[in-house]
Every structure is written in structure tokens, then in C-alpha cells.
């Protein structure tokens, strides 16, 4: 017996069995306890509620939705809203973050300083607070009739941001659908609600500050000799950045970038603070109406887990692709 106890393999196995046993016991106790309590309060369990009529409306949706649709469809609307804001946030934060990261390394003193100030101030203020600021900014914009008109086809007013869209209804090729003001509102184009615009701006500006630091570190990790070799071939600074430095910096950038992308997805439920109907906001409403908190929360957790795993897998694949070939 003593010799068995001093056997490393046996000990390792024993500890694992004990840990698994403890986890299973705890889980079983929690499930049992919950079921007993729910039954005592007369709350139904199971996912049956998904097929029932939701009975509430959702302020914005990329697919058709009305209160007579099911809970399942309501949650799908929430999920799509989460995906849209996270997806656009990832793209715009990457672009902005890269620009600022590059600017921070620029030889121009003022540009470098400004990017440093941006990064340091944005990184150190809670995102929730920044969302309130953005929401305040967006909702205090002028009315539609006096909308800001910074670019052709782009209008910024307290109804949100209106940009040109694509009209697919005329056959195979899309037609550029340029919005214009008609009376008190805009016709044509794509309208982003103030809530959406504020959330997207908040997520973008906040995450871009972190991405900028990642990009900067990645660029600094590329040996100076690379720039010198490229300069000696007569390439311009811009070409060197694009063709030589950034492709190599990606090796260093991609892994931490992945966690920033995950952060965008995981920060998107802060939408609830400014009333953008993301997955968490919709499921909250559903939980309030049905009382099925366990199922609702579990569903949301599973969905977020799925989003995160999918993102990680995608980025891992990309990371393998940009890895350098060596002997």
C-alpha cells in the first residue's frame, strides 16, 4: 500500500478521480436544488417557452420581427444584433487601432504625442462611462432637418447615423442607395439608431486603444534591419509598412488581438445600459416575462461560449497562416 501511495502515476490518477467526483457531486446538488425550488414556486422548466409568443417588441432588428413572433425568434434577433455590433466593432477597432498604433511610432512629434494621449486616456476610463458619453453625444445631435452632413450621403442627427446602402431589389447588381432628406426624415440608405451608433463608437474607440498598443509592440518586434533592407531597395515608408513590417508584425499581433476581439464580443452586453437590444437585453426581457432565468442565462452563456470559440478558432487558423516558414 505504501509503495502504491508513493507511486506518482497512482497519486496523479487518484487526485483526478477525486476532483471529478467533487465536481459531479456539486453539480448534481445544484441541479437538484434548483429543480426543487422551481417546482415549489410553480415555474416551468425546460426550453418549451422558446416556442411561445414573445409579446414584446424589439426596437431594432436586421430580420422582420413583431410581438406575435416566438421567444426563439426574439432571441435570434438579439443574437443578430450582438453579432452585427461585434462584427462591425471588430473591423472598425482594427482599422482605427492600427492607424493609431502606427501614428504613435511616427517620427512626427505632435502625431506621436496625440496618439499617446488618446491611448492613455481611453484605456483608463471604464467602458460603461464612455458608452454613456457617446450616447449623450449622439442624442444631443441636431434634429434631422439640421443634420450634420460631413460627407455626401452621410447624415448625422439625433435619429442616428444615415449612410448610403446597397439596394439589391433591382436584379443581380446592387444599386448604391444614397439617402436624402424628405420632410422631417431621411429616405433611402441605411439608418443606424443612436443606440447602435453610440455602442459601436464606444466599443470601437475603447478597443482601438488596446489594439494600438498591440500593433505598436508588433511593429517594434520586427528587426530594424528589415526596414533598412527595404529602404536600401528604394521602397517608400508607406510601402515598407504595408509590404514588409505589418506582415511580419502580424505574428506578434494576432494572439493578443484575438483576446481583444473576444473582449469586444464580451463587452457588447453593456448595450443594455443604453438600450440597444442585444442578445443579453432580449434574454433579460424574456427571463422577466417567463421567470425561466436558468434556461435564459444558460442559453446566453452557451451562445457567448460558441461565439468566443468560433472567433478563437478563426484567429488560430489565421495565426498559422501568417507564421513564418523556417527549417
Amino acid at each position: 500500500m505504501a509503495s502504491l501511495w508513493s507511486n506518482l502515476r497512482f497519486r496523479g490518477l487518484l487526485y483526478q478521480v477525486l476532483v471529478v467526483g467533487a465536481v459531479v457531486a456539486l453539480g448534481g446538488w445544484l441541479v437538484h436544488n434548483t429543480l426543487v425550488n422551481l417546482a415549489a414556486r410553480g415555474i416551468a422548466t425546460g426550453l418549451g417557452f422558446l416556442g411561445r409568443e414573445a409579446g414584446f417588441d424589439i426596437s431594432e432588428s436586421v430580420i422582420a420581427f413583431s410581438p406575435s413572433d416566438t421567444y426563439a425568434r426574439a432571441l435570434l434577433v438579439g443574437l443578430l444584433n450582438t453579432l452585427v455590433v461585434s462584427g462591425l466593432g471588430i473591423v472598425s477597432a482594427t482599422v482605427l487601432g492600427t492607424l493609431i498604433g502606427v501614428a504613435r511610432l511616427s517620427g512626427n512629434w505632435l502625431v506621436g504625442r496625440l496618439s499617446t494621449v488618446y491611448i492613455e486616456s481611453i484605456r483608463n476610463v471604464p467602458l460603461l462611462l464612455q458608452l454613456f458619453v457617446w450616447y449623450g453625444v449622439v442624442t444631443s445631435l441636431p434634429v434631422a432637418r439640421l443634420a450634420l452632413h460631413p460627407l455626401p450621403g452621410v447624415f448625422l442627427s439625433n435619429r442616428g447615423l444615415v449612410i448610403p446602402g446597397l439596394d439589391w431589389s433591382q436584379g443581380w447588381l446592387p444599386i448604391l442607395d444614397i439617402p436624402h432628406l424628405a420632410g422631417f426624415n431621411f429616405v433611402g440608405g441605411l439608418t443606424l439608431s443612436p443606440e447602435f451608433a453610440a455602442l459601436l463608437a464606444g466599443l470601437t474607440v475603447y478597443t482601438a486603444a488596446f489594439i494600438a498598443e498591440i500593433v505598436r509592440a508588433g511593429i517594434l518586434a520586427v528587426p530594424k534591419g528589415q526596414t533598412e533592407a527595404a529602404l536600401s531597395l528604394g521602397l517608400s515608408r508607406g510601402q515598407i509598412l504595408r509590404l514588409v513590417i505589418l506582415p511580419q508584425a502580424l505574428r506578434v499581433i494576432v494572439p493578443p488581438l484575438t483576446s481583444q476581439y473576444l473582449n469586444i464580443a464580451k463587452n457588447s452586453p453593456l448595450a443594455i445600459a443604453i438600450g440597444y437590444p442585444d442578445l443579453v437585453a432580449v434574454s433579460n426581457t424574456a427571463i422577466n416575462q417567463t421567470g425561466q432565468a436558468v434556461e435564459g442565462v444558460a442559453l446566453v452563456m452557451v451562445v457567448f461560449l460558441g461565439i468566443s470559440l468560433a472567433l478563437s478558432a478563426l484567429m488560430n487558423w489565421y495565426n498559422k497562416r501568417v507564421a513564418l516558414v523556417t527549417r
Binding site: 528587426p223 533592407a229 536600401s232 528604394g234 516558414v325 527549417r327
Partner: protein, 249 residues
């Protein structure tokens, strides 16, 4: 006669400081078309700094540098034009590790000289033949030996058909058994009439190839002489001591 032509590279009273440190002191040097100059001198004497000034990887603070009739100043277009006419080979190869050998050679011809990819690839393959590694074209630099990488680097520096080639200790980072293959390529290049400025301590190569030897010490050009004279009857005491050290051991 060669000497009648204006020099292709000319440094006149060139000075450079790193902060308080006076790294180049009144450098004067003329290189004729087709001339092979070998620069040597103790570590820290400013050899790299000097040749890096010729294609503006380093900026000089006073004096003038003229390359192929163009004076190096603050005009970015002039600098880029000169860089296209001056190839450079580094001690640490500095190949682009994310590009294949062929792509390393076609990058500048396509992006800088505006060649079509097909033209650029033809030129590149011809150059790879010249440095004797055409079969490695599809590989990545990380898959090659040091000697092969340096030969690719030489081919890359030649891809814009430069008029002058700068070498900064091209064999110092190589294992001894690979030095020969790189020197062979450089010797062949010299025999084709290329103007070359080489910083190297390969004295056998210098003796065989150089038209002119330049010895630098503490930021100054101390001695300029034909190799025969330089090696057998160095005029300067410091040159003598330096040669004694590197040849004597």
C-alpha cells in the same frame, strides 16, 4: 581612361555625430566607376556608418556626398532615386522572412521600378542563376543556410541593376565553411565590372579584388592605397599595427 570620368561616389569633408560622439571626422573619398574599394579598420572606427551614409541609411551633418551626380540632401525623391542606383548587402542578410526567395527579389522591381511580375520574375531567375541558387526560388529564407541567404541578399541588391554595390561585412555572420561561396559570388561580380565598396576583413579577398584599400580609425580615413602597397608597405603606423593584428594571428 577611367580616371577622367567624374567619380560615381564622392564624399567630401563629411562629418557626423551621435549626440556628442564624433563618429565620422572629415571623411573624403572618391570612387570611380568600376572601382573596387575595400574598407577596413578596427571595430567602432565608423566603417559601417560611412557606407550607410552613402545610401542615406544614416544622415551626415556636414560635408557633401554625391552619388552618380546627385547630391544627398533632404529631397526624399533624390534619396529614393539614389537608393535605387545603390545596392546594399548587410552583415545579417536582412532578407524578408515572410516572402519567398523569388518574392524577395521581385518586390522592389515590381513596387519601385514598375516592372510587370513576369518581367521581374525573369530578371530574378537570371540573378539567382548568377548567385548559383536558382533551385531555391520557391523556398523561404528561413529554409536556407546562411551562405545561401547571403547570396540571395546579393541577388536582391542587384535586382534594380544598381551602379554601385555596398557590402557591410557580408561574411562576418557566416560559418567559416560558407564564407567561400559568398566571396566567390562577390569576386565574380567584381570581374563583371561592378563598382563595389566593401567593408570586410577578408584580406585574401581584398588583395585579389580591391583596386583601392581604405583604412579607417577613430572616425577618420587614415590611409588610402593600392593593395600591394597597403599590405606590404603600409605608410601609417596605425595601419601597420592593425594589419599585424588581423593577419599576424
Amino acid at each position: 581612361m577611367i580616371m577622367q570620368d567624374p567619380p560615381i561616389v564622392e564624399l567630401n569633408g563629411v562629418n557626423k555625430w551621435y549626440g556628442d560622439f564624433h563618429v565620422l571626422k572629415d571623411i573624403g573619398l572618391e570612387v570611380a566607376r568600376g572601382e573596387k574599394v575595400v574598407v577596413c579598420g578596427p571595430s567602432g572606427s565608423g566603417k559601417s556608418t560611412m557606407i550607410r551614409c552613402i545610401n542615406r541609411l544614416e544622415e551626415h551633418q556636414s560635408g557633401c556626398i554625391v552619388v552618380d551626380g546627385v547630391e544627398l540632401g533632404d529631397d526624399l525623391k533624390a534619396i529614393e532615386a539614389i537608393r535605387r542606383r545603390v545596392g546594399m548587402v548587410f552583415q545579417s542578410f536582412n532578407l524578408f522572412p515572410h516572402l519567398t526567395v523569388l518574392e524577395n527579389l521581385t518586390l522592389a522591381p515590381i513596387r519601385v521600378a514598375g516592372m510587370t511580375p513576369a518581367e521581374a520574375a525573369d530578371t530574378a531567375m537570371a540573378l539567382l542563376e548568377r548567385v548559383r541558387i536558382p533551385d531555391q526560388a520557391a523556398k523561404y529564407p528561413g529554409q536556407l543556410s546562411g551562405g545561401q541567404q547571403q547570396r540571395v541578399a546579393i541577388a536582391r541588391a542587384l535586382c534594380l541593376k544598381p551602379k554601385v554595390m555596398l557590402f557591410d561585412e557580408p561574411t562576418s555572420a557566416l560559418d567559416p565553411e560558407m564564407v567561400g561561396e559568398v566571396l566567390d559570388v562577390m569576386t565574380a561580380l567584381a570581374s563583371e565590372g561592378m563598382t563595389m565598396i566593401c567593408v570586410t576583413h577578408e584580406m585574401a579577398f581584398a588583395r585579389a579584388v580591391a583596386d583601392t584599400m581604405v583604412f579607417m580609425d577613430e572616425g577618420r580615413v587614415v590611409e588610402v592605397a593600392k593593395p600591394a602597397l597597403f599590405f606590404d608597405h603600409p605608410a601609417n603606423e596605425r595601419t601597420r599595427r592593425f594589419l599585424g593584428k588581423i593577419i599576424g594571428h
